[in-house]
């Protein structure tokens, strides 16, 4: 579904990604793990067109992404939940969700879409008309995910969704991701909480110093403590 082929990326003079190649298969949950600074977030940002200096190729459902401006990804069916969530604090939950529908296909109607979200996220349902800034960090994270989901994307990229979230919500999030996969949505997950991510994912890819160093099923990686120690130190 998503093919990243020999991707290089730079932050100013810093060469951050070195010929990174990986693929995300339709309908799977792929976990991207590795140390801080390994290049996980950069990879996501590069896919979403947020890194100005890149080389190589990124294709989504056969369409080239790198040649397109960042806002071209959404209509193709790609959604992104960044590390800092980026919900709009002054808007209500409902309004934030409507943002996620702005350029959605005409077949998705606002009423039913929001109702569906409310069913999936009871916590958000209670707070539909509450201003986003008054919600706790965990609730805001849920909102960010809901906003990404509402227009029925095919692939969702999530950058460290569990960071700073309390355990009971992390559990809920895990159940949500599994339910999404059941519905046929593909997920690419960058995570530092390796244990949780590997429990959830089908496959796992380890990134170190800007390149892929290991790729296997999640179960295999869970069992391989040597590799984990080397690259993620669980």
């Amino acid at each position: 579904m998503l093919e990243i082929d020999r991707l290089d990326a730079w932050y100013g003079p810093s060469h951050v990604l070195h010929g990174l190649s990986l693929e995300v298969r339709p309908g799977e949950i792929l976990a991207l793990v590795g140390r801080n600074g390994a290049g996980k977030t950069t990879t996501m940002k590069a896919v979403m067109g947020l890194i100005p200096k890149v080389a190589g190729s990124v294709r989504f459902l056969g369409e080239d992404l790198l040649g397109r401006p960042a806002h071209a990804r959404f209509p193709l069916g790609l959604a992104y939940v960044p590390e800092d969530r980026r919900i709009v604090p002054g808007l209500t939950v409902r309004e934030n969700l409507k943002l996620g529908l702005l350029r959605a296909p005409a077949s998705i109607k606002e009423g039913p879409a929001i109702a569906e979200i409310a069913e999936t996220f009871p916590r958000l349902a209670e707070r539909l008309d509450q201003t986003a800034v008054t919600m706790s960090g965990g609730e805001q994270q849920m909102l960010a995910i809901a906003r990404a989901m509402i227009a029925r994307p095919k692939l969702i990229l999530l950058d460290e969704p569990s960071e700073g979230i309390m355990p009971v919500l992390v559990e809920e999030m895990g159940r949500l991701f599994v339910a999404l996969r059941e519905r046929g949505v593909t997920l690419l997950l960058v995570e530092q909480n390796v244990e949780w991510a590997l429990n959830l994912a089908d496959r796992a890819v380890i990134i170190d110093q800007g390149a892929v160093v290991h790729e296997s099923s999640a179960a295999a990686l869970r069992a391989d403590t040597a590799i984990q120690d080397r690259y993620c130190a669980v």
């Binding site: 100013g12 003079p13 590390e83 800092d84 800034v133 008054t134 919600m135 805001q140 960071e163």
Partner: protein
């Protein structure tokens, strides 16, 4: 207020490896080196009067930089201190027949006192509000001077206190001689620079920079941020007042403009063009702006437009100012070795 999210701080990739503000070995010599550079100035510039202006406005900008570049407080009302220093020097000499040095001393004390008052009122505000409060208070001083025309000469400015010689007891300085005047002004500016260098190298200097970098953290460390800011404000007012006093001696007239917001803006422009937060930057800025003004006004009657455009270009492409950028390049080179 609930913070919005737990953003992980990302280091901007272009932050230099060595802190450009580090108190390196150069700092010991920055005052003497600056004075040496300034000694050469009258021989490099087309006119002595321009050279004296560079000294005066350079000092004005350096005083301003203490508050803006080093402490991080953007004031739009520093003309109040410059103007007060100028007016009281003129009034002291003209109306009270005081010895010029005494008049200057009193004027500087008054400017510092005014800084204490304005500072106390404005320190409570932050950012843009602070800028607005200082602007408003400076305008107040402007209008007071405008109204008190029997003392200040009102719109015509203060005249009639020409200083031709300064009697130092053993010797009398002929201020009408351009070189003597330059050296006289340089003596004060040099002393001020030495003092400012000392202040910046002191523990207090570290505190004001800490406040600029992160006020909340400075407070949490146990620093009395308000009191420190006020002290920086007063010191800044002191040196700007001194610049004003020297200006009065130089021109033998104090235009009402000295208190106008335009003069406040000049401090900001010069500091930014030269390099905020650097020691010698403001002088470079003063020199650049004054020379540009001279040159541009020869070429076009719309020189202010041209000057404004130049300023915009600086802000866009050289945000660290001329001197700041030069220092930055030098530090990067040294770091790479």
């Amino acid at each position: 207020m609930q913070t919005l999210d737990q953003t992980v701080v990302e280091a901007p990739p272009t932050v230099p490896r060595r802190s450009p503000i580090a108190l390196g070995g150069v700092s010991r010599w920055r005052a003497p080196l600056s004075i040496l550079a300034l000694l050469a100035l009258p021989f490099l510039l087309p006119s002595q009067a321009l050279a004296v202006n560079v000294l005066i406005y350079g000092l004005y900008a350096v005083g301003y930089n203490l508050l803006y570049g080093y402490t991080g407080l953007l004031s739009f009302g520093h003309a109040a201190f410059f103007g007060t220093g100028a007016y009281l020097t003129g009034i002291g000499i003209g109306a009270f027949g005081l010895h010029p040095l005494l008049a200057m001393a009193l004027a500087v004390v008054a400017a510092s006192g005014l800084a204490l008052v304005i500072g106390t009122v404005s320190i409570r505000s932050r950012g843009i509000y602070f800028a607005m409060v200082t602007l408003a208070l400076a305008q107040l001083v402007y209008y007071v001077a405008l109204q008190a025309s029997s003392w200040t000469g009102g719109e015509n400015g203060l005249r009639g206190f020409t200083v031709s010689a300064i009697d130092l007891g053993i010797v009398s300085l002929d201020i009408l001689n351009p070189l003597t005047k330059y050296l006289f002004v340089l003596a004060f500016v040099g002393a001020a620079l030495a003092l400012i260098s000392r202040i910046l190298a002191s523990p207090f200097g570290a505190v004001i920079e800490a406040i600029r970098e992160n006020e909340t953290r400075a407070r949490a460390c146990g620093f009395d941020v308000e009191r420190t800011k006020l002290l920086a404000f007063v010191l800044s007012g002191l040196f700007c007042g001194l610049a004003g006093a020297l200006s009065a001696i130089h021109l033998s007239i104090v235009p009402l403009d000295s208190l106008a917001y335009h003069t406040s803006g000049t401090a900001v422009v010069m500091t930014l063009v030269g390099g905020a937060g650097t020691f010698f930057g403001p002088f470079v800025g003063a020199l650049t702006v004054l020379v540009l003004e001279d040159v541009l006004s020869l070429w076009t009657p719309h020189w202010q437009l041209a000057l404004g455009s130049v300023f915009i270009l600086f802000v866009l492409f050289l945000p660290r100012g001329l001197w700041g950028t030069a220092l930055g390049r030098l530090t990067a080179l040294r770091g790479r070795r």
